[in-house]
Symmetry: C3
Subunit: 131 residues, 3 copies
C-alpha cells in the first residue's frame, strides 16, 4: 500500500489551506493511477474539508461562519482554553476519501481539498494512504 | 475497481434526497458482493449524509435545523451570495463509506443514504467506487 | 476482508465514549498489520468522531457546545421528539477511516476514537471493516 505525509505550516488562528497541489504531487511521485486516496488528519484542533477553491472569499466566509456557529463564551472546563477548536475538529471531521483516476484527483470543477486550521498558527501534517 | 455515477435532480433550495435505492441498483448491476462502497459528492454546495429514512419529517427537521445553525445575515464576501450553502457543505461532508454484504448495503434498521442539496434546485451527480 | 462489530453501552443522554481500546483489541485479534480500518455507525441518533482523549473535559466541552449549536426549541415535526439528536448525527457523521500500521492504530499523540451518543442511554454497536 502506498502512503505518505504532507506538511502544512499555518499562519492564522483559523484558516483553510489549499493542499490539493501537494496531494497531486505525492500521487504523481507514487505513480498511482486509479483508486481511492484516504486522507487522515492526526491533530485534535484541525480538520479536512473539500470546498470551492476558485474564489478565496469562500474559504474566509466559511471560517467567519464557523466562528459564529461555535460558542466561544460558554463555561468550558478544558484548561487549555481551546475548546471551540476541538468542537470544530469534530464538526468538520478528520478523514476524507478522494477518488483518483488516471493519476489525477477526480474532483468537481470548483472543488479543492483544504486543511482546516482551528488553533494556529502551527506546523501540521496530513497522512494519506492509497487503496 | 468497480465504479459509477448516480444522477439526482433536486427540486428545492435545500432538501435531503434519498439515494439508497439508486446505490443498491448500481451495486446489483455491478454484481458486487462484499466490501466497502465509497460515495463522493463533486459539488461545493451539497453534501452526503446518513439519517432516518422512515419518517419524512426527520429530513425536513434536519434541513430546518441546519438553516438555523448556519448564519445567513453576516457580511459574507463571496459575491455569488451562496456562502451559507458552502458552509453546510463543509459541515455535512462530501464523502461516505458504506459497507456491502451479500450484495446489499449493510445499513442500520432506520438508516437511508441522503444527497444533501444546499443550493438547489439543480442537476447533481454522486460518484461511487467499490473497494 | 476482515470485519467485526464493537458493542457500547451508553449511560448519558449525550456523551462521547472512548472506543479506541475496543478497536485496537479487535485489530490485534484479527492479526491485521497494515491498511485502513473503516468504522460505520448504524444508528441515526449517534455518530463517530476523533478528538482529544487525554483531558476528559474536552469530551464534555464538545457535548456542551453541540447542545448550544443545535436548536432545541424550534417547531420540529418528527413526533418521536428527538430531532436535535438526528441533526447532530448528520453534523458529526457516521463513518470514519483509520490507518493501521504494524498492527496499531496510527492516531495522533492526543487522538482517541469516540462513539457519540446523542439520544441515550442505549445499547449501541459499531461495525468495522479492514481494507
Amino acid at each position: 500500500m502506498q502512503s505518505g505525509t504532507i506538511l502544512v505550516s499555518t499562519v492564522e488562528y483559523m484558516e483553510l489551506v489549499d493542499i490539493t497541489d501537494k496531494i497531486e504531487k505525492d500521487i504523481a511521485k507514487s505513480k498511482i493511477t486509479d483508486g481511492v486516496c484516504v486522507l487522515f488528519n492526526p491533530h485534535t484542533t484541525a480538520g479536512l474539508t473539500i470546498n470551492e477553491g476558485c474564489d478565496p472569499a469562500v474559504r474566509s466566509d466559511v471560517i467567519k461562519a464557523l466562528k459564529k456557529i461555535v460558542p466561544f463564551n460558554i463555561s468550558y472546563q478544558h484548561l487549555e482554553g481551546n475548546s471551540p477548536s476541538h468542537v470544530l475538529a469534530s464538526l468538520v471531521g478528520s478523514s476524507l476519501s478522494l477518488f483518483v483516476h488516471n493519476g489525477r484527483l477526480q474532483l468537481g470543477t470548483w472543488q479543492k481539498v483544504f486543511f482546516c486550521e482551528f488553533d494556529g498558527p502551527r506546523s501540521r501534517k496530513i497522512h494519506w494512504r492509497f487503496l
